[in-house]
């Protein structure tokens, strides 16, 4: 059937695109000089590459139940991947791992400067809250 042939070709194209995005993220992970640049490289295939692979699966298994689970998977990935990327970038900024000289725009630093003193989080090293008895 002509439709099956088209679906097979599209499946191959989508799979190759998804795998290529993963490979590009791996190359960026090795080549980029900085933690935040590596974060930039690796967060691309986390949603787009996975979306390509899920499209390939949906083209092969054309059933409503499978496509519903695939949509749920994509929604969960879109909800959770930005959370981890945000937390890692924030920890890098707060922990001093990201060098401030490497940033062109520092909106978080401006926001910290604008915040009232008592609302700031402690940025000093070793400043841990003592466990309350």
């Amino acid at each position: 059937m002509i439709f099956d042939t088209i679906a097979d070709i599209l499946t191959g194209v989508f799979l190759i695109l998804g795998a290529f995005l993963s490979l590009a993220a791996g190359v960026g992970l090795i080549r980029f000089p900085d933690a935040i640049a590596r974060l930039h490289a690796t967060t691309k295939p986390q949603i787009l590459g996975l979306a390509f692979v899920l499209l390939a699966i949906a083209l092969q298994e054309r059933r409503v139940s499978t496509i519903l689970v695939l949509g749920l998977l994509l929604v969960f990935q879109m909800l959770t991947a930005p959370v981890s990327a945000h937390m890692i970038a924030r920890a890098g900024y707060r922990g001093g791992i990201i060098a401030p000289e490497s940033l062109f725009i520092d909106e978080l630093g401006q926001a910290i400067d604008d915040a009232p003193q008592e609302e700031r989080e402690p940025t000093k090293p070793n400043h841990r809250r003592q466990p309350t008895e």
Binding site: D8, T11, G12, L15, I16, G18, A19, F20, S22, L23, A25, G26, V27, L29, I30, A35, R38, L39, T42, P45, Q46, G49, L50, V53, L54, A56, I57, Q60, E61, T66, V69, L70, L72, L73, F76, Q77, T80, A81, V83, S84, A85, M87, I88, R90, A91, G92, R94, G95, G96, I97, P125, N126
Partner: protein, 88 residues
Amino acid sequence: MNEWVFLAVGVMLTAASVLALFRIIQGPSILDRMIASDMLLTTIICALGAEMVYNAHTKTLPAMLVLATTAFLGSVVVARYVSRNSHS
């Protein structure tokens, strides 16, 4: 379907995993390691999906769903405990 497509997909996913492993071993800070392990987990999810297309089944779909749902917990927990002294 063409075998060469799956061969190319497998080679690319394997290369991506090896590069991520390299960064996990080498990474100068713990955040680099967490970024690389996040990416390794995404590559594993993509590989599970590609394998399902190749063998024409949907048995590993729940595993993909669980991985996509809980993959962020590890990096969030590590990011909570990164301080200025933990550069390795």
